[in-house]
Amino acid sequence: MADPQLAALEIAEPAAGRQASLLRDARAQLARRPSFWLSGGFILVMIVVAIVPQAFASWFGHGDPRSCNLSDSLLSSRSGHPFGFDKQGCDIYANVIYGARDSISIGILVTALSMFIAVVLGCLSGYYMGWLDTVVSRVADVFFGFPFILGALVLLTSLRSHSVWTVSLALALFSWPTLTRLMRASILSAKQMDYVLSARSLGASDWRLIRKHLLPNAIAPVIVISALTVGGVIAAESTLTFLGVGLQEPAISWGLQLANAQSDFQSHPHLLIYPGLFLSATVLSFIVLGDALQDVLDPRRNER
């Protein structure tokens, strides 16, 4: 019974045929950002390096970070050893490459763990409120009260094992409250929307409401802050390791290399510069990536 003319008018409007999805929309916008390409590309390279360091370490012919010769101690850059040698006479280039693994593993592990906790607790407490919310929020407040680094420092000092896992757990313990609060707040605001009311009026169960209607609409800010968190966690791990409570020898990590550079970097700056450069570039990349995601995923952005 529809008026054919009217129908023709209305069909013309969404540029028939070209069906864009929200995800594709976001992807198209990301593609236009050089900051996204640069940071994303660098992170991708660093992740590959973390997975197969041997492929990269041997580029200059001397790929073993543990074959050290004291006679090379503190020598600066030369053929085959572009970054020079550290105090033990180990090749700094190979060490920097192998150091990516632990730093990036910890960064991603901690963030994944915090995000998981945040999604579960944030959804439950934001949706059900009541005593559950009170408990979750107050416990989060308690952990929120500790300065991030100080909290992890105190905890790690009392632990005997300082592996990737224990350091990750210690950092996750103090980084989940931020994400959980964000998730909860995001759920709270999504809960007010009419489409949630509408779905409930059709008889949707709590689980369906959370999974299909709340979570997909509330997760964006959490993804953004998670990307930023990865950078923060990598920096925090290096800080802890530098202070002597994070990873310990014989682990290879940027933090340890910086710690070892302490006594000699004034006379031999290359000890500090190369691991520092990689650490800064990685942390910066995650932060820039988070920023780019924020611009694209935040519906309140003004451009477009």
Partner: protein, 329 residues
């Protein structure tokens, strides 16, 4: 309770806790709806019409609001039903469409999948069958090129199309009662007319009852069998559309009718109702309309007029309802 009543609301009161004390959004309101009937609930913002709809749907937050009285749907008492049973009760029996369709559709799900989701969950239909059925429903609410629109996102559709999608979702469960909460307020006038026409047609085809909430006197005159006028949380006048519009027995309804601009009165000043509605935390004693009523007398400040039958199928809650009979000529 009459046997043919589909929905019976008796002494329904809804209070919200607020900083300024209890906020009485709905105060002992009663009405009944028969199967297949269209009832328009008319009132200003804050008169309690949406809250009435939400309490029928069971969408009010039980922590922040208190509902008393009784709502029976085909003999089932809904007030005080357990949370789980209350949740499952609407759907097949009652469905609701909201004012702002963009806000009422999930922005990250395609419109088609939002319709077919309802079919899959409630009828256990397979993905393919649900999709075919959803497209059928989209056709039925006159969405052109429904098959292509199936995978559109809400923001890609126009306001009228979105409202049609909302209606398709509501219809998917073949409810016996459809509550429409100002379904056309956010739309252009031409689209409004199309949506109203669609609702009327669908109501005729399916035989469902329609509870139509609006503040638009014109729209309600067109579609409604009966009209209920609400003021400050109470129904002040009910009757057939013709009775209420032509022989109004309540000064508030008259005030509303007088404040509509008419072509015949071009150049003359409109007669608005003086003052503004009372805050729901401090509703006047007696008749809640008396501070604004041109006919207010001593009795209006002390005695609350109850809704009483003036003539067949016409009730008014005014002390002077009889005297208002044919003042309009």
């Amino acid at each position: 309770m009459s046997a043919e009543a589909l929905l019976e609301v008796r002494d329904l009161s809804v209070e919200f806790a607020s900083r300024h004390g209890a906020l009485k959004a709905v105060r002992s309101t009663s009405f009944t709806m028969r199967a297949g009937e269209t009832l328009a609930v008319l009132g200003e913002s804050g008169s309690g019409k949406s809250v009435t709809a939400m309490s029928i749907m069971g969408l009010l937050d039980p922590v922040r609001s208190r509902t008393s009285g009784s709502i029976t749907f085909e003999g089932t008492e809904l007030v005080g039903l357990s949370r789980a049973r209350r949740r499952r009760f609407p759907g097949r029996n009652i469905a609701m469409i909201f004012q702002d369709a963009l806000a009422a559709l999930n922005p990250v799900q395609t419109v088609g999948s939002q319709i077919s989701e309802v079919l899959r969950v409630h009828q256990g239909a397979s993905h393919g069958a649900a999709k075919a059925q959803a497209i059928e429903y989209m056709d039925r609410v006159r969405i052109p090129a429904a098959a292509q629109r199936y995978s559109s996102y809400p923001h890609q559709l126009s306001g009228g199309m979105r409202q049609r999608v909302m209606i398709a979702i509501a219809l998917a469960l073949q409810p016996k009662l459809l509550i429409a909460d100002e379904p056309t307020t956010a739309l252009d006038v031409t689209v409004q007319a199309q949506i109203m026409q669609l609702l009327t047609e669908l109501r005729r085809e399916t035989g469902m009852a329609l509870l139509f909430i609006t503040h638009d006197l014109g729209v309600s005159a067109e579609v409604a069998d009966r009209i209920a006028v609400m003021y400050a949380g109470r129904i002040v006048e009910t009757g057939t559309a013709a009775e209420v519009y032509l022989h109004s027995r309540h000064p508030y309804t008259r005030g509303l009718l007088d404040s509509i601009p008419r072509a015949a009165q071009k150049g003359q000043r409109l007669t608005p109702i003086v003052g503004s509605p009372p805050p729901l935390t401090a509703i006047p004693r007696g008749c809640s309309f008396h501070p604004r009523c041109p006919r207010a007398a001593e009795v209006c400040t002390t005695d609350r007029p109850e809704l009483r039958e003036i003539s067949a199928a016409h009730c008014s809650a005014c002390h002077f309802a009889e005297e208002l009979a044919d003042a309009r000529g």
